[in-house]
Symmetry: C2
């Protein structure tokens, strides 16, 4: 039995559970997004700004994936939003069965938007469907403008690209136009937003777009 065969089996099993998760979301009118990025690109900060912006209008729940610690779930819970922490204990990505398990603690009938924050990893989470409506990839300006070309899988499988930390552009060597061009060369249908969690730039545009998409599916 080759490694490739086993990986395919792992993915097949994952995709089977992901399909069941997706059906569950559809049946409950839940719009689910899977946020992916490198460690430290600002996923949790964007999540905090997004929740602050939307939580009065939209019923939200959050699933947090981390290799270790429940720091992120604590940050979300501090905003008064339900947050379930999955600790992978070394695992480099979330898989659909872990999400299914976490969903047992969520009252889906009372949720319009489910945000799943994946483990910080720009490679492995690209291949694992969790049942989400879309993947949102966050790329920080500080990571440089070449990342879409060097890690194409994630940008290919995402529907949205959030370019975060635009407030740092004056101090770093990142050409945002090149970053966007590189991302669109990998995936021309990406919706691109430019944000800063320090100045709040772009958070409104992103939240308005997200809100429209949530309401569209109901």
């Amino acid at each position: 039995m080759s490694i490739i065969t086993i990986e395919r089996k792992v993915l097949e099993k994952n995709d089977e559970v992901a399909r069941a998760n997706r059906e569950l979301f559809l049946n409950h009118g839940v719009f689910a997004i899977n946020i992916v990025s490198s460690p430290g690109s600002g996923k949790t900060s964007i999540l905090e700004r997004t929740l602050t912006h939307l939580k009065k209008k939209i019923k939200v729940a959050v699933i947090e994936g981390d290799v270790q610690t429940d720091f992120d779930a604590q940050r979300i819970a501090a905003l008064g939003v339900q947050a379930i922490q999955i600790v992978t204990k070394g695992g480099c990505h979330l898989e659909a069965p872990l999400v299914k398990e976490a969903l047992a603690s969520v009252d889906l009938a009372n949720v319009q938007l489910l945000i799943i924050e994946n483990v910080g990893n720009l490679v492995c989470p690209a291949n694992y469907d969790l049942g989400e409506a879309m993947k949102v990839v966050v790329a920080s300006t500080t990571e440089g403008d070449d990342k879409p070309l060097k890690y194409p899988g994630m940008f290919r499988n995402a529907s949205v690209l959030i370019i975060n930390k635009v407030d740092l552009l004056p101090y770093i060597n990142c050409r945002i136009d090149v970053l966007k061009k590189n991302a669109l060369s990998i995936n021309p249908s990406l919706h691109v937003f430019e944000t800063s969690c320090t100045t709040n730039a772009g958070i409104g545009e992103w939240c308005d777009w997200l809100e429209k998409n949530i309401l569209k599916t109901r």
Copy 2:
């Protein structure tokens, strides 16, 4: 056959080849380091500064690991240093057999320092020994001060921590003392350097320390 059994087998096979690589390095008096980090933390920039600092004194070769593209090998070759590019085509980390294969193109008798730059990933490369004398983990200040606690495996298995992009500290919300404390709580024997590839701060200290360690092993 369970997944865990298979992963153990993959690791066992890897470690066997890693042992052979290590023996090869010892026989040729080659000091090998494995540089690991998140995408965009500045591994290649640190490598460029290190080579500029050391290449007149020390004979160096570089193996570059990337998911896609040979951009990094091009950057190194531009400095007149031999660079072998491994493209993993989606693979999330380097493994010892890939390094062994790349070594076929390196004249080890003419190398004192071999730098292996791993795929940008703060999770998976932690578990794969390539035969190196030490892992060097790079953490960018822009990733935040909580990363050692959230991704402990990499910090536990490294001998050196380079905190990069210290020039950005005035503009971001990262407490460098907390970052260091968190890293040392995971691994008290880490040697810590603070660098900036923009101002060159700390590059000299890191290169002096590295040079001493290279000479010690010969």
